[in-house]
């Protein structure tokens, strides 16, 4: 028994003594940002070292946005969270009190240093001539998108479709609901996260259109070559603002607040905005955006606040249990 407790104690120590000589941050993020934060973390480490002489290591955890928020609520020790939508960070604040409710006001631009939007990824040559939202519900078209209940990107995609139908000539809430219902009848696979859907579409060859983050779609072209896929910009989409936030209580607990705050502010610097643009996230800085204008076509983008009254309302109306999505999505019936 003595032996056993010694092993357990040693293993606890092994984990507890992780922070001592250098600063360690944990950034809990969502699925498609893996490549982005790999670059950001390297740049930030170099900058922080030059400024303070401290070595900072940023560890990463990725998964579906909702799943990651849940893990933080359950005690995953994130110093900062960089998730797909404000609702998930709101949930952390409400359910665990680890950060204040006004978190989104603490950094510029709604705490979203970069934005993105939802686009269509189709197979090369666009064999089904998919140009805009109505093309997605034509007979025989298969649309791949993740489950809006668990994926942030999927919620943005759902709302973009809704917004299109609402703003189309003669559009109203009933027609929007009917359009979204029709759209989800064309979905053969509903993965839990954005990355899972990309894999399904790209690697498994399922479906004709992937409703994808703009960044994710560009990444596919980069990784898989532009000879297999192409991006289609619909006539209207949604301004997706993936927010970032300091998890106050965790950072204070670790004594890493200073570095964590600097990390988030770093995301707004010229250097980071450039990295974000290179990873196909739309930078907030107008000069950086202008330099990469070719990658980011200008299309009309609705906002969550303007169109849906903010995330809290959108979530309650559309994605909560018994909400619109539950009413329209009835496969196998």
């Amino acid at each position: 028994m003595k032996h056993v407790s010694a092993i357990v104690a040693a293993s606890l120590l092994f984990v507890a003594s992780a922070h001592a000589t250098n600063v360690k941050l944990l950034n809990v993020s969502y699925d498609p940002t893996r490549e982005l934060y790999k670059d950001i973390n390297a740049a930030f480490s170099a900058e922080w070292k030059g400024k303070t002489g401290e070595t900072v290591t940023v560890n990463q955890s990725h998964g579906g946005s909702g799943a990651q928020a849940r893990a933080v609520i359950d005690g995953l020790d994130a110093d900062v969270v960089t998730l797909a939508l404000a609702y998930d960070i709101d949930a952390i604040s409400q359910k665990s009190g680890l950060l204040p409710a006004n978190w989104q006001k603490r950094l510029p631009d709604n705490s979203a240093p970069y934005t993105s939007t939802l686009v269509f990824l189709v197979r090369k040559g666009n064999p089904w001539h998919i140009k805009d939202w109505p093309d997605l519900v034509k007979p025989g078209i298969q649309v791949v998108t993740p489950n809006p209940k668990t994926s942030g990107g999927a919620r943005w995609a759902y709302l973009a479709a809704w917004a299109y139908a609402l703003k189309a000539p003669g559009g109203n809430a009933d027609k929007a609901q009917a359009f979204v219902a029709a759209l989800y009848k064309h979905v053969p696979v509903l993965d839990t996260g954005a990355r899972g859907s990309t894999t399904t579409f790209v690697q498994r060859g399922i479906g004709d259109v992937l409703l994808s983050w703009e960044s994710e779609a560009h990444l596919v072209l980069k990784e898989r070559g532009g000879d297999k896929f192409q991006i289609v910009y619909p006539s209207l989409s949604i301004l997706a603002e993936p927010p970032v936030a300091l998890v106050d209580k965790n950072a204070d607990h670790h004594g890493t607040r200073k570095a964590a705050e600097a990390y988030l502010q770093f995301l707004y610097t010229n250097e980071a905005q450039e990295i974000e643009a290179r990873n196909f996230y739309r930078p907030r800085d107008p000069t950086v955006l202008a330099a990469h204008a070719a990658d980011f076509p200008k299309i009309p983008l609705v906002t969550i606040d303007g169109m849906f009254g903010g995330w809290q309302r959108a979530q309650a109306v559309h994605f909560a249990d018994g909400g619109v999505f539950d009413q329209i999505y009835r496969p196998g019936q």
């Binding site: 293993s11 606890l12 359950d74 995953l76 990784e223």
Partner: protein, 283 residues
């Protein structure tokens, strides 16, 4: 192994051929093909790429974590298995059947549930989470949680091997030693342990294979921090989701090799020590 069947009880030659083809075909289709798939995908861009994927720091960290978790969980479960089978097979008491059932229970509990229960206890919203946080002890999203989940899913394996084996062997030898004045520990070390050593090894082997390969339960409690709390099976999933299919299958092939080594050792034990592990012929 078995003497050839006599003519009167022999299957018709055509039946033999058909059944053999069905059996080999079924195993080929369901077992050999997926295994081949793993290696062919891992090697699809050459051995160099495969090895590079395995030598990558996050992959090595995952290997280390997997080995460490198994190195803690398996010996603890072995200790438990020995203790439980000693209590169950060497003594008569009421409720023995129920105790055995409880020990077997984790075998059929969904891995997801196995992870969930520790979140409910050690999570920040759970029973002990807030207290542990004050004490600065991490359980879930750290090594202890991974070890606990691993221990749960492999809980019955060693006990299940040892209980039937020790039941078959009876108590006479131990009772004789005890009546001659040998201490309990001495009796165990000199008499029982030599009798069960191959069965024990067999159980440890199965326990270890499952411990290193567990996915669902560990996934729930891991937190997926790269280079820190991703075990090998979780790292496979990470790479798979990162478009690094070759990398995913490279790490997967490492796990598949582990499975092959396990099977080889297991068959070796079965062929050479059939008697010593006979009572425990099934898992």
């Amino acid at each position: 192994m078995k003497k050839p069947p006599r003519r009167s009880t022999e299957d018709h030659p055509l039946v033999r051929v058909v059944l053999s083809i069905v059996a080999i075909g079924f195993i080929g289709l369901f077992l050999v093909l997926p295994l081949t798939m793993v290696f062919s995908q891992a090697l699809s861009r050459g051995l160099g790429v495969t090895l590079a994927a395995i030598e990558e720091p996050d992959a090595l960290a995952a290997v280390r974590l997997t080995l460490l978790a198994a190195a803690i969980a398996v010996p603890l479960n072995a200790l438990f298995g020995i203790s439980a089978s000693w209590a169950i097979t060497k003594f008569d008491f009421r409720g023995k059947g129920f105790l055995t059932t409880l020990i077997d229970l984790p075998f059929s509990v969904s891995p997801v549930v196995s992870g969930l229960i520790y979140v409910l206890i050690f999570g920040l919203q759970g029973w002990l989470g807030p207290t542990l946080r004050e004490w600065d002890i991490k359980v879930i999203f750290a090594l202890p949680g991974i070890v606990l989940a691993t221990m749960f899913v492999t809980f019955p394996f060693i006990a299940r091997e040892l209980i039937p084996l020790m039941t078959d062997q009876g108590r006479e030898e131990e009772e004789a030693a005890a009546s001659l004045g040998a201490s309990g520990l001495r009796t165990f070390l000199r008499i029982t342990l030599p009798n069960i050593k191959w069965g024990l090894l067999y159980g440890v082997l199965l326990c270890n294979a499952r411990a290193m390969g567990e996915f669902g339960a560990v996934s729930v409690v891991s937190g997926h921090i790269r280079g820190l709390t991703n075990t090998m099976p979780l790292h496979v999933e990470v790479l798979y989701n990162d478009y690094q299919f070759v990398g995913a299958f490279a790490v997967a092939s490492l796990l598949a090799l582990l499975a092959i080594v396990t099977l080889t050792l297991k068959s070796f034990l079965e062929w050479h020590f059939a008697e010593e592990i006979a009572a425990a012929h099934h898992h």
